[in-house]
């Protein structure tokens, strides 16, 4: 029997969804957050592309008007219109939208009150600005509301769902709980009325097991700290956790033995050996070059040691951890495709 959606689902251990293992087959709404600069838009894009390659019809949503999606896929700027940006051979499709709070308000008014035409007047009086930028929480309700609408939309009469999956490029870790927890946000100001009802429906959806919130991080101290904090905040708010996505990992270019050697500073024999090797392949092995190579390697070794410490901290979180390689050329040159394959292979989708 399916569990009621308005209560957190408990797993065998009696744990809430927040701690349950990530089950990609159930998830229909993927929320991607992370500290600024960790590449959450890239990860959201890769996730959506990966899903479309499984033959699914996917909607990728951005809510901060950054045009991150259009830049990532190198397509014209997106507006408040669902636009198909990829058609996969599997039959899957990737659609994208940059949600605009004002236009969401207009749609909302039209859909529920048939007063879409009142928008012009509302706008003239500054009420639209009030609702979309000033009134606390309303903006978020409108933005998440659009995601909610798209995720639950039916295609045609009696048809199935319009989208098999929706991927949300969400606000950064510092704001994501407040953003998703629209119910709490408007509870104080709109205690009754349609906004309140809408917020409650949204909250039911984002707390259900069909939603997963993934947190993107780098193996650096600040992003890892924010990730740990965000996971705790998400758990406290009863929001279902997905995976930790470690982004921009570099391939190990030196073996552990070599790293230990350069860190330990056993440089005398190393310097001579390296100089001889370089000379053998006709690289001018001046002291500057040899010492430079070793100095960079030492710094690299320090960095890796720090990354391992951070990796251990993440491992203690007990979540599925997905590892994505650093793309030397950024997302240009098909890099996003590499990441899409990686998220699928590692069980995120």
């Amino acid at each position: 029997m399916p569990a009621p959606v308005d209560r957190p689902v408990r797993d065998a251990a009696g744990d809430t969804t927040g701690r349950a293992a990530h089950d990609p087959s159930k998830v229909r709404l993927h929320v991607v957050t992370g500290k600024g600069g960790t590449g959450k838009t890239t990860v959201a894009a890769a996730l959506a592309l990966g899903l479309s390659r499984q033959g699914k019809r996917v909607l990728l949503v951005e809510v901060e008007g950054r045009q991150g999606i259009s830049q990532t896929f190198d397509v014209p700027p997106l507006g408040h219109v669902e636009t198909r940006i990829v058609h996969d051979r599997s039959g899957g499709e990737l659609w994208a939208i940059s949600v605009d709070a004002k236009q969401s308000l207009g749609e909302y008014l039209q859909k529920f009150y048939k007063v879409g035409r009142a928008m012009g007047l509302l706008d003239k009086f500054g009420a639209v600005d009030f609702a979309t930028t000033i009134a606390p929480g309303l903006r978020d309700v409108l933005l998440v509301g659009k995601v909610y609408e798209a995720a639950g939309r039916r295609a045609g009469r009696g048809g199935g769902l319009a989208y098999d999956a929706v991927v949300l490029d969400a606000p950064p870790t510092g704001r994501v709980v407040r953003f998703l927890n629209v119910n709490a946000e408007v509870a104080d100001v709109a205690r009754v009325g349609p906004i309140h009802t809408q917020a409650e429906s949204i909250t039911r959806m984002v707390r259900s097991h069909t939603t997963a919130v993934h947190v993107v991080t780098l193996l650096e101290e600040m992003p890892v700290q924010e990730t740990v904090d965000a996971l705790a905040d998400l758990r406290a708010a009863d929001l279902p956790l997905g995976a930790i996505v470690v982004n921009q990992l570099r391939d190990p270019l030196l073996s552990d033995r070599d790293l230990a050697a350069v860190r330990a500073g056993r440089t005398d024999s190393l310097v001579a050996g390296v100089a001889a090797d370089l000379a053998a392949v006709r690289v001018r092995a001046t002291p500057t070059v040899v010492n430079g190579l070793l100095a960079d390697a030492r710094e690299h070794a320090d960095r890796l040691a720090l990354e391992r410490e951070q990796d251990d901290i993440l491992a203690q979180q007990g979540r599925l951890t997905v590892r994505l390689p650093l793309l030397p050329e950024g997302t240009e040159g098909g890099g996003i495709s590499v990441l899409a394959d990686a998220v699928a292979e590692q069980g995120l989708i």
Binding site: G37, Y113, A118, D129, F130, T133, L138, V189, L253, D258
Partner: protein
């Protein structure tokens, strides 16, 4: 590449900027995650150790960075940073408490009974803790307060401010204006006195409009919210003037010759694009941009060896080499090739920025192998920042 850029782009001499006593405010801004707070803290520390009396206003510092500045609690009060300051200089630091700053503004501008009424209003409580832009507005408000206190007490002669991790770096510039236009707006007047805003007899159409607006808002938000808003706005009415004046003053302060903006970025496409928007906007507003700080720049210690040469040598070594260090040397060459590639790519990104903004001074800060969480680490950053 670096040499070619130097011809068109002057170096940013932050040491001279911080030593200049005419400069009283330094604002660090840029996209999220580029190291704004670290940059602000390092600049403040350097100035304090070169005789300035500095207060650093941070918005949302990472925990260990905050600890390094002795900031253990978010209490909206500047406190001395132990172990910082030399040659008569001193360093104070504080974290912004957005809600408390807003409360203080209300208490300062409204009569005591009105103030109490506002502070207790549910709509005010929601606005002051979650209105998109409150943090930006309050950061600017706090900057104004610190600057005024500096004049009044002589406790500081330099205010260094970090800006909020906004959606866009421009948000904090727009926040005062947005709040101002909201307070002055027709909608507010409509809420406070629908009859007045509706106009006099003869403007029938207008009145109908008013009805549509109020009834739609009421249906959408519920009558209770609208009532709270009306009470809030009525109470706030008495302090509109003060708010407006304050926002205008802060804006004027940002345009003053004593202010210097430092735009912070990393050598990545997105961060530099934000920096580019910001530089353009400051120019439009007539606000003084000192220059661009590019954080986390990859450097190579053996620049004479090109990436492609290193890679070719590594492959040759893999095919033909022998000896105990062969694998290590091959690894070193591959590592060097990767780092040199990264460095080249970053320089191309920076070159793209400077091509679009010739003449904006620039300083690069090399990527540190370790994260920064003590004064020593900040000093190293400061040394790099002021090397330009």
């Amino acid at each position: 590449m670096a040499a070619r850029r130097a011809a068109a782009t002057p170096g940013l001499d932050l040491g001279a900027l911080l030593a200049d006593e005419q400069v009283r405010i330094v604002v660090c801004c840029g996209a999220g995650g580029v190291g704004k707070t670290t940059t602000a803290a390092a600049l403040g520390l350097w100035a304090a150790e070169h005789g300035r009396k500095v207060v650093v206003l941070t918005i949302d510092p990472a925990r260990r960075l905050a600890q390094s500045l002795g900031l253990t609690e978010l209490d909206n009060t500047p406190r001395p940073v132990a172990g910082a300051g030399a040659r008569g200089g001193s360093l104070d630091a504080m974290m912004l408490d957005m809600k408390r700053t807003f409360d203080e503004v209300v208490e300062q501008h409204a009569a005591p009974d009105k103030a109490a009424q506002i502070l207790a209003n549910p709509f005010y409580q929601a606005v002051s803790s979650s209105f998109a832009g409150t943090q930006e507005y309050m950061a600017m408000e706090k900057l104004g307060q610190l600057r005024a206190e500096a004049d009044r007490t002589g406790r500081w002669d330099l205010v260094v401010v970090d800006t909020p991790p906004s959606r866009s770096a421009l948000d904090f510039l727009d926040a005062p204006k947005r709040l101002g236009s909201f307070l002055d707006g027709r909608f507010i007047r409509l809420l406070t006195a629908p009859a007045k805003a509706g106009g006099r007899a003869g403007f029938k159409v207008f009145s109908v409009g008013v009805q549509v607006v109020t009834s739609t808002m009421s249906r959408l938000l519920g009558g209770q919210l609208l009532q709270d808003v009306q009470t809030f706005v009525a109470a706030l009415d008495t302090m509109f003037g003060g708010f407006r004046e304050r926002a205008d003053q802060t804006y004027a302060l940002l345009k003053a010759a004593e202010t210097a903006f430092v735009v912070v970025a990393t050598p990545e496409r997105d961060a530099l694009r934000e920096a580019s928007y910001f530089a353009g906007r400051l120019d439009e507003e007539g606000m003084p941009l000192a220059g661009l700080v590019v954080n986390r720049v990859q450097r190579v210690a053996a620049p004479s060896l090109s990436a492609s040469r290193a890679l070719a040598a590594a492959e040759q070594l893999a095919d033909t080499g022998d000896g105990v260090t062969r694998a290590t040397t091959e690894g070193l060459l591959r590592l060097h090739a990767t780092l040199a590639d990264t460095a080249d790519r970053q320089q191309r990104q920076v070159a793209r920025f400077t091509a679009g903004h010739p003449g904006i001074p620039l300083v690069e800060v090399p990527a540190a192998a370790q994260d920064i969480h003590d004064l020593e680490g900040l000093r190293e950053v400061a040394t790099a920042l002021t090397a330009g």
